[in-house]
């Protein structure tokens, strides 16, 4: 369904200039700054998969999504989505995909939601019957009934994302790109969005590629994750594979009778907690719990309380970042 080969995107930004005639100067003799946003990534996504595309802000997630959806032209490498090259076969390709940006709407701000859906129907040349069927289904599943006749600017964020999802699916795309669909949405609304995405995936076989910072999104929605850092792919595999690989990570939260010690051990991260305690993150392949405790005791501090946890997904992802990634 999606094949990405050695894909790169380098932004050439004109260095802004100061002073008089600065615009004229930068037109006649531009100075460029180059920034490599996506750097030689490979992956492929099969029919009906739900894949989480994760990474820190600025890691290159949105740039990838924009290349996959045909907004941006890659600097080098190949993208095929359902046999088409997105930026070259733009119009045909757009009928195959639906895109939702959690942070901005693709609906008309000042008119009722239903009007936006109608004009999109015309743009995508969706037949009446199919449109009515989809509208009824999405209205039910996403509970749009209450606000179909309200202008988008009056909607809550959760409502707006639901409306955007419905809009992105009206033309029955095969693939859905979701860029942070749950960001800023409250817990109940998030749950509804997830159920809907799963349902659409199951019932219609729609493949989904979504970016998210939300650990729960990953655990509930996604069976495979692709992790990108600094524009490079650093992990691609099952989500439980991540846990296996990093499952021996431990987070030890300690309270002390006296001042917490300064602990500097190779491969160990420490963090002062808000309650005055110290969190120590380490890998059991490097230190056993017993070794770690004796290291701490050697500093002369007296431990009052201790909690030891397995690392959660968020912690694991952070660890991958900190390592700068292992090549996959």
């Amino acid at each position: 369904m999606i094949t990405v080969n050695n894909l790169s995107k380098t932004y050439r930004i004109v260095r802004p200039r100061e002073g008089r005639f600065s615009a004229l100067k930068s037109l006649v003799h531009p100075e460029y700054i180059e920034r490599r946003a996506v750097d030689g990534i490979h992956f492929s996504i099969k029919d009906g998969e739900i894949v989480g595309y994760i990474g820190q802000n600025g890691a290159g997630k949105s740039t990838t999504i924009k290349m996959l959806s045909g907004i941006l032209v890659p600097t080098s490498g190949e993208v095929y989505v359902d046999g088409l090259i997105p930026h070259r076969d733009r119009k045909e390709h757009l009928h195959n995909i639906g895109v939702v940006f959690g942070q901005k709407t693709s609906l008309w701000w000042d008119v009722p939601v239903i009007d936006s859906l109608h004009i999109l129907k015309k743009m995508y040349r969706v037949e009446d019957e199919r449109f009515q069927k989809n509208l009824a289904l999405f209205t039910e599943l996403l509970d749009l009934g209450n606000f179909l006749n309200q202008p988008v600017r009056q909607l809550s964020l959760g409502q707006r994302v639901r409306a955007d999802l419905a809009a992105a699916l009206m033309h029955d795309p095969k693939i859905l790109f979701l860029d942070e669909p749950t960001i800023g949405v409250d817990v109940v609304a998030k749950e509804r969005l997830r159920k809907f995405i799963l349902e659409i995936n199951r019932e219609r076989g729609v493949s989904v590629l979504l970016t998210t910072h939300d650990v729960v999104d990953m655990e509930k929605l996604v069976n495979r994750v692709i992790v990108i850092h600094g524009g490079r792919l650093i992990y691609d595999g099952a989500i439980h594979g991540l846990r296996e690989r990093y499952g021996r990570q431990r987070r030890m939260e300690l309270q002390f009778e006296n001042e917490p010690p300064d602990l500097t051990l190779p491969g160990v991260d420490t963090e002062r907690m808000e309650d005055g305690g110290l969190a120590v993150m380490f890998d059991q392949n490097a230190y056993t719990v017993d070794e770690m405790l004796s290291h701490i005791r050697k500093t002369g501090s007296t431990i009052r309380d201790i909690i030891i946890q397995k690392a959660d997904i968020e912690q694991i992802v952070r660890d991958i970042y900190q390592e700068g990634g292992r090549d996959v």
Partner: protein, 267 residues
């Protein structure tokens, strides 16, 4: 052909959405209407004061100057009614709206243009036509059918030219930031050519407004021809549709290049 009708229909649908959005802000509508009338009034008073003090300007009588001014307004209004959004490409890119255009299977150009309609611009059309009529009455020149046809051709060509000029300046946003600073430079040009026959300026200026930024084709050449002035040879005036055609071609090329160069707004 089918594609053509599809796009016409889409343009209509987009304008309908735009108008529906605008109706949400009625107070805005009336305020801007009043300000346009006042602004134009001030301009005309200024012109009549100048004309009254000098009687004629570079061999142009008051009536002829009114025709000059009026034709500029009518051609300009084509831009300001239908194509104003073309001068906002930079904002659309920065706001990320341009990304959204590229996600819909309809020409982004059409979506851009369809995103705005400026009914207030009609004031310019009517006031411009009124000035042309007043100028004709004052000079006693009578236009036959051929003149009227040429008037229409000149206005349409002038409309295309002004749209292209504004559009090309705006397209710079694909290449540089702060394209806006440049556009104010051009505004200075319009301000001069709207009121004064370009023959009163030096040769360099004439070449500039004829061959480089052809704003003289909005009013100077058309009025020269229609009023039978000796300021320019008729063939140069009648080039107007050719100039419009060339400008449109350049615009299409630049747009295509710009789209290829489009880098979204990072992220």
């Amino acid at each position: 052909m089918k594609e053509f009708w599809f796009h016409i229909k889409m343009y209509g649908a987009l304008l309908k959405m735009t108008m529906r959005s605008m109706l949400q802000y009625r107070a805005d509508f009336w305020m801007s209407l009043v300000s346009v009338v006042l602004l134009n009034g001030a301009n005309i008073i200024q012109l009549s004061v100048i004309s009254w003090r000098f009687h004629s300007l570079g061999g142009w009588s008051v009536g002829e100057l009114l025709v000059l001014y009026g034709m500029f307004m009518v051609a300009w209004s084509i831009f300001s009614i239908f194509f104003r959004k073309l001068s906002k490409i930079e904002e659309e890119i920065v706001n990320g709206v341009f990304d959204i255009y590229l996600l819909r299977p309809v020409s982004p150009f059409l979506q851009l243009v369809g995103g705005d309609i400026n009914h207030i611009g009609l004031c310019d059309t009517f006031m411009g036509l009124a000035l042309v009529a007043a100028g004709l009455a004052k000079t006693g020149v009578r236009w036959d059918m051929e003149h009227i046809l040429w008037f229409v051709v000149f206005i349409l060509s002038g409309g295309v030219i002004v749209v292209c000029i504004r559009f090309l300046i705006s397209c710079l946003a694909f290449w540089i930031t702060k394209a806006k600073a440049l556009s104010s430079l051009f505004t200075q040009l319009y301000l001069l050519t709207q009121k004064y026959p370009v023959t009163i300026f030096g040769k360099v200026f004439r070449v500039l407004v004829t061959g480089i930024v052809p704003v003289a084709y909005l009013n100077f050449y058309p009025a020269t021809y229609l009023m039978g002035k000796p300021d320019a040879p008729p063939w140069l005036c009648m080039l107007s549709p050719v100039v419009a055609f060339v400008m449109a071609g350049i615009s299409a090329l630049v747009w295509r290049q710009g789209m290829r160069r489009y880098d979204s707004c990072g992220g």
